[in-house]
Amino acid sequence: MTTLPKADVVLIGIGAAGGIASYVLTKAGIKVVALEAGPRLSNAEFAKQLDELGGYQGRNVLGAPKVNHEIPSWRPHVGAPVQHLRPPYAILMANLVGGTSVHFGAQFWRFHESDFKVRTYTVERYGTKALPAGSALADWPVSHADMEPYYDQVEYLIGVSGRGGSNPFEAPRSRDYPLPPVRSMGSAELATKAMRELGYHPFPQPAAVLSRKFNGRPACTFCDFCDGFGCWNNSKSSTLVSAIPAAEKTGKLEIRPNSRVMRILTDSAGNASGVEYLDSNGQMVTQPAAFVILSTYTYENTRLLLLSRSSMFPNGLANNHGQVGKYYMAHYYPSANGIFPGKPTNMFSGTASQGVAMDDLNADNFDHAGLGFIRGAEIGVSNETRPIGAAANVPPDVPMWGAAYKQWLRQYGNSIITVSGQLENIPSVHNFLDLDPTKKDPLGMPVVRVTYDLHENEMRAGNYMLKKATEILKAMGATKTWHYPPSPLAINSHAYGGTRTGEDPATSVVDPYLIAHEVRNLAVLGASTFPSTTGFNPTCTVEATAWFAAEHIAKNFHKLAV
């Protein structure tokens, strides 16, 4: 096996979190070797991928290098039969330089002040009896005030569109977004009016998509191929077109594409000493390093730690307290549909992050007394539907085939608006990740096994949100509405937990700076470190926390590196 010269920092996976970390570290003068399982692609390739079947609807072409072959298995609870989900399976991650930020939907949210102190807020307002059974609800070890400067720097580095102050529930920000909100559209205008009538406070969704030219990149053209697709126009603010090229300009970032890390190595003192990876020729290579950063998305973060056993860490790296894999969380997306007969709603256009949102029923922004659940959901309207998906979205009383089905599609196929939300998932001792005892990927490595279900808090809150979404549709003028009951989406593009951050090694894996409690020269980045999901998409906070951690690592490099 080849052993290469020692690197300062080896970064495993250069996606949303890794891309930001590479920028912060190299700007501070530290040399980074990034090992990325996928290739490097450009907008010329993305321009040939405006194809629903190839992208979002299941083939997930950008996941072909890796994730499509290692889809986690799922069981709702311990003792239940395990289900092996097979590709093609939609909404999986992407493997390429820039990671899933290349094909994410670009809805780009800062969290609330109460999100970071979620347990304290809940207990102060409703008492400990309000905590759901089995809940492992915990405060974050950092506050919104700690994170605000990093939110701000992320927004200005990558290019984010929105209007500061338009959401009355937003935490204080030091300045407005670098770009005004992206254009509104018909369905959002209709929803805005209805939400106001119902007493809510709608505002334009914050978007990591350019509303205007920014750093030489053009504004979005609303092509309907954003969520699940790479941007052919360079208008989506992935790390591939923002942080990563800026990091490369320093001359201190070396990216090795098509390089899949198989194991993190440790020395006899229990420090990380480097990694083993399969290089682009299929050769196993050892890359020693003074500091290792793991940023491979929630499932692989847990998996690589559990697979990196050694005599010092017999149960997996950084797992001597048995915390790796714990408190797995995932969003449930309550959504209701309505028909607007005779009017094309032009839902087959735009981008997922274009549209309207409201925050009135999220977090602790409303009084939960008597409702039987805590926390809530952001609710909004965006377009970006595509025909294969739309053809399956018919009301329960309409047949799925035959003349009546065809007639329904012709009449209403482009006359639907969907109001949807994302519901905060309360961390539970019953929801966790471990290695599947039987299922392996093509290289013979066990896949992740997800043990996960929605519990009573999510079912109640989910049904409540479905009711509210339906009310909004009716106020918009929908003549008919429909929805389906809450169900767990165990394998999720919003997946959290497994390497929780906290002060206490007995209940968390990484410290407040995202450095492993048990390994001083190993950091873990991504939503796997989040103690809670919030009712917002994760990536803005994934990138802000990565910046925060990388800055700490850079400042203390000589103390931390081995």
């Binding site: 991928q49 989900l85 093609p88 699940g228 094309p344 329960p396 599609l409 169900s487």
Partner: protein, 213 residues
């Protein structure tokens, strides 16, 4: 993004209402039916399939007769057969990604013919509809509900995917549902409610796109 999909297909899906929900809830989430019940064995090794790779001429006759009822073309606009959905399905079944579904098609098409006393295609449209309703309810021996849902998912894929995959001939599916086709730009008026967008009738193949495996 606010994806909607369900995980459960094989195990938890044995009762009808749940299955129904699963199948219907594949809204934004994707091709769950083939995806999770029967899906692929090895995506990376999947080869582009030669046409006519998977099903025999007799099986194609049966498949076409079914598709003609699932999305009929007798109302003056093209249905699944006119849009070449059978071509799409046959081609996909010849790829590694769909290989696991092939035995299910062989067995189910044969069983359906048996239930039709020899030839499903020879029944009247009314008789065909009645038999398919029984299949959907899970009461035809040898033709599972799972097969029916896979078939519906494949029908939607073939009818509404980019024509480069072999179905959606002449953009028939996209015209049916009101999807304008691949467009690189939408103007503000085109995103207003009530605007009729002129169909672009564009396949991504026209700018170098290739079917994904």
């Amino acid at each position: 993004m606010k994806e909607q999909a369900s995980n459960s297909e094989s195990g938890a899906g044995s009762d009808l209402s749940r299955r129904n929900f699963i199948q219907r809830s594949a809204v934004v989430g994707g091709s769950l039916a083939v995806g999770s019940a029967l899906g692929a064995s090895g995506l990376a090794s999947a080869d582009a399939a030669p046409a006519g790779a998977a099903l025999s001429a007799g099986e194609m006759t049966t498949l076409k007769a079914i598709l003609a009822r699932l999305l009929p073309g007798d109302d003056g606009t093209p249905g699944a057969v006119e849009a070449n959905v059978h071509v799409y399905i046959d081609r996909q079944l010849g790829t590694a990604a769909y290989a696991e579904a092939v035995p299910l098609y062989h067995q189910s098409l044969a069983a359906l013919n048996q239930a039709a006393h020899g030839s499903f295609a020879a029944l009247t449209a009314k008789q065909q509809d009645r038999l398919l309703q029984r299949v959907e309810a899970g009461s035809v021996h040898g033709v599972s509900q799972a097969f029916f849902f896979v078939l519906l998912a494949h029908m939607r894929e073939g009818m509404f995917s980019d024509p480069m995959y072999g179905g959606n001939a002449n953009f028939a599916g996209w015209d049916l549902i009101g999807y304008p086709g691949v467009k690189f730009v939408y103007t503000a008026p085109e995103q207003a409610i009530g605007t009729k967008v002129t169909p672009a009738h564009m396949s991504i193949a026209s700018v170098g796109g290739k079917p994904a495996r």
